[in-house]
Amino acid sequence: MADLSINFAGIKAPNPFWLASGPPTNSGYQVMKAFDAGWGGAIWKTMGIPIINVSSRYGAVNYRDTRMAGFSNIELISDRPLKDNLNEFEEVKKHFPNHALIASLMVQSRKEWHQIVTDVQNAGADGLELNFGCPHGMCERGMGSAVGQEPEVLQTVTSWVMEAAKIPVIVKLTPNISDITEPAQAARRGGANAISLINTIQSLIGVDIDHFVTFPVVGTQSTHGGYCGPAVKPIALNMVKNCAKHPGVQLPISGIGGIENWRDAVEFILVGASSLQVCTSVMHYGFGIIRELKSGLECYMDEKGFKTIDEMVGKALPNITAWEHLNLEYKIVASISDEKCIGCQLCYIACEDGAHQAIELSADIQNRTPKINEGNCVGCNLCSLVCPVEGCITMIRKDDGSKTVTWHERTEAQNIPTTFDDTLAGGLAHHVPHPTEALKRRK
């Protein structure tokens, strides 16, 4: 059986699933309930000088019948007195001594940092997470992402914390920056023990088209929020990978951003995360999702023969490279299963209007199964992505694997197109219909 327990930068937990700092960790009641349900750790909702919130606070992107594919909030850090938070913090720690209980912090001055670090350590925190990520409300006051966006400031504030910290310190990074590895390296230079990413992405979640205001609406007005939920996972994965591969970072990474099921969790681990933080999906479904997360991860590890989380961390990283090192000789084409095809012809119209006109319809209108024109198929995958039937369109390898040539190698060999009408153009042999053919088609 797989062992889910972790030691993340010195913070031990029975499993890698932690609640991210946010509404689900607003109180001891919630955290205690989560630990009881099976969560391995929790990052307490960010503590500092208590704030005052507005109503409403959240907005969502619904994709077709799926609620909250993306989620945005304009809620700030904890609005509760520090004393209340810390009392409850101690209470939770007493009941769950082996779970990871981490304090998320956000204050301004060196003095305040020293004070609050000392206070939460006294309350029994297993680690600290510095909130340098919040992109709304707090950053205007010089905190949150205002720190995360300035590597030098981030480094300085981190070093203040390190002066008082006796427990591991995690720096939480904002994605609202062009190169995530810069603040990640600054965290390392400031002495941090780990990083966590991503915090929310600055966003307008949507516009109320009846009242000409964006969501979430406060009276008649709104403001930008922080975007998260399943929709941000691809952005988070890329940033985690960038930090994991960067030689100047080399810190344990706690992965955050759209984790909802065990597959998401495995993906984050494979690109370099060694603990995982979840918030939006708990806000959607409650703490109970931990059963599916743990069971899925366990089954996967057993299936693949992984004994510990550590064995999995970063497994996909060696296979992620720069575009110029990809094999230009690797060729796949689509293949449609006659047996499985239901005749929706979504692949046809996607390829026809959105790609390379490599799918043809049968002349017999009774036969709705499209055919691949292999000569035109560039192996882009689009048809297989739009196909609604499991396993109906597969991509078949066509090259024999004997040749490998990359753009990088071709550049070195001076074998690349260099002029506008170069005969080395990759699409030269591709058949494209004459533009006027478009007007002759059946309406």
């Binding site: 077709r64 019948d65 239901i342 005749g343 929706c344 979504l346 046809y348």
Partner: protein, 451 residues
């Protein structure tokens, strides 16, 4: 002679004594969706390219488009998409045999996934437009030419809407007191309620402004001559007549009734429609299934459907047969009625068994049997209105008594007359009638332009 007795079991339906009880017995098989249901159902549509559902729709409604419009909360847009192709969009969503049309060809079925509930989505969108009295169309400025429409059934109504859209004044002459022809008078009440039908017709009338003259039969040569004088073109949407006679003994007995007449009575008089304790329905078409279901829902203790051929030869759609079976109707096959027996009142039906030989149905000698019953419903097809149609000069009918028209514009062999609906096609669905009425209106518009 062999006598077959059907054991009387406790009937599933009690005889409805109150309006509430009637509604319970005739619960809608395609009830109106609520907003949430429509939202989730519409989310499932794949938006197929060159979608099979559109091709299967006699009115060629752009189904994937209106479903997408529902899903994006552009409900009025969805209603417009529907009404642009079918003026009876609301009723058709409920009464169309979607199981064998649009929903029957939904690509999901190939992976054993439930088809989209297209009919119910269609009714959802159009009901929303109707409830909000949304004026989806603006009629053109009035033109001088006037058109007469005979019959306010689906074909006539659709024809009138399209003509009004182009600005032609339309007078509809309707023999009965209510519009919509068989919709109100002949479609089983568990498929659609009369109020729903009249609400849609009123809505259409408020948009298009055609005039309906109720209780105004056009029956004689003189009637026709008057119309010919006053109107530039005439549309024949007269449908079919009463139930055809079987030409067997006992058809005149009390409690022997035609299916069309039985359903009409039920639709108009509801609770006061009497059914026997034991009802025999003769026929194997969709009207037979409706009549049998209706009899069962009215509290008949046993309903026996007798069809002369075998099950495979039965014309009713499979799902219609299933609907009848589900309310307790029992079917017997290869039984041809020889006589309806009784003394003043029906007491039974005498049958002979049949078998198919060389593709022809043959009676089996010596196989007579009888079934006791106290009511017989004949669902053996409706008569053509040939006698009336013969009054129109140069109007050609085909061998089956159907009005011959040009396929592309519904024009008859008398250029002033156009036709559509059951009188033209011999009796099909409401949606076919609506499509043909609309097609003929386009033909009339072209005809009037040339004049």
């Amino acid at each position: 002679m062999e006598k077959i007795n059907f054991l009387l079991s406790m009937a599933e339906f009690n005889i409805p004594k109150t309006e509430e009880g009637f509604c319970r017995n005739f619960g809608q098989i395609k009830p109106l969706m609520n907003t949430t249901e429509a939202f989730y159902e519409s989310s499932r549509c794949l938006f197929c390219y060159d979608a099979p559902c559109v091709k299967a729709c006699p009115a060629s409604i752009d189904i994937p488009l209106f479903i997408r419009q529902i899903h994006t909360n552009n409900i009025f847009g969805a209603a417009k998409t529907i009404y642009e192709s079918n003026y009876l969009g609301n009723a058709c969503g409920k009464v169309c045999p979607t199981e064998v049309l649009c929903e029957g060809v939904c690509v999901f079925k190939k992976q054993k996934i439930k088809s989209l509930e297209i009919g119910r989505l269609q009714t959802f969108a159009t009901t929303t437009a109707i409830v909000h009295n949304k004026k989806l169309f603006a009629v053109s400025e009035n033109k001088r030419a006037k058109v007469a429409v005979i019959g306010a059934g689906p074909a006539g109504i659709a024809c009138a809407c399209e003509l009004r859209l182009h600005g032609y004044l339309v007078d509809i002459y309707e023999e009965k007191a209510q519009p919509s022809g068989l919709l109100i008078h002949g479609v089983a009440p568990y498929k659609i309620e009369n109020l729903e039908i009249t609400t849609e017709i009123n809505y259409l009338q408020s948009i298009f402004g055609f005039t309906v003259h109720y209780n105004w039969p056009i029956k004689t040569k003189t009637d026709l001559q008057k119309l010919e004088k006053t109107y530039s073109a005439i549309f024949l949407g007269i449908g079919l007549g009463n139930t055809r006679s079987l030409n067997i003994r006992g058809e005149d007995l009390k409690n022997c009734i035609g299916a069309t007449e039985f359903i009409e009575h039920l639709k108009l008089n509801r609770l006061t429609t009497g059914v026997g304790k034991k009802v025999v329905v003769l026929g194997g078409g969709n009207t037979a299934m409706d009549a049998a279901s209706d009899a069962a829902r009215m509290g008949a203790e046993a309903v026996i459907l007798a069809y002369r051929g075998n099950k495979a030869e039965m014309k009713a759609y499979h799902f219609e047969y299933e609907l009848a079976k589900n309310v307790g109707v029992k079917a017997i096959f290869n039984a041809i009625p020889l006589a309806i027996t009784g003394n003043g009142q029906v007491s039974g039906v005498k049958f002979q068994k049949t078998q198919t030989q060389n593709g022809k149905l043959q009676p089996v000698a010596g196989s007579e049997f009888s079934i006791d019953c106290d009511m017989v419903i004949k669902a053996t097809g409706q008569k053509k209105q040939s006698d009336f149609l013969k009054l129109i000069d140069n109007l050609k009918l085909d061998d089956l008594g159907r009005i011959v028209t040009q396929a592309e514009n519904g024009q008859t062999t008398n250029p002033k007359y156009f036709a559509g609906g059951d009188a033209r096609n011999g009796g099909t669905e409401v949606v076919n009638a609506a499509a043909e009425g609309k097609l003929a209106a386009k033909g009339i518009v072209d005809f009037l332009k040339e004049m």
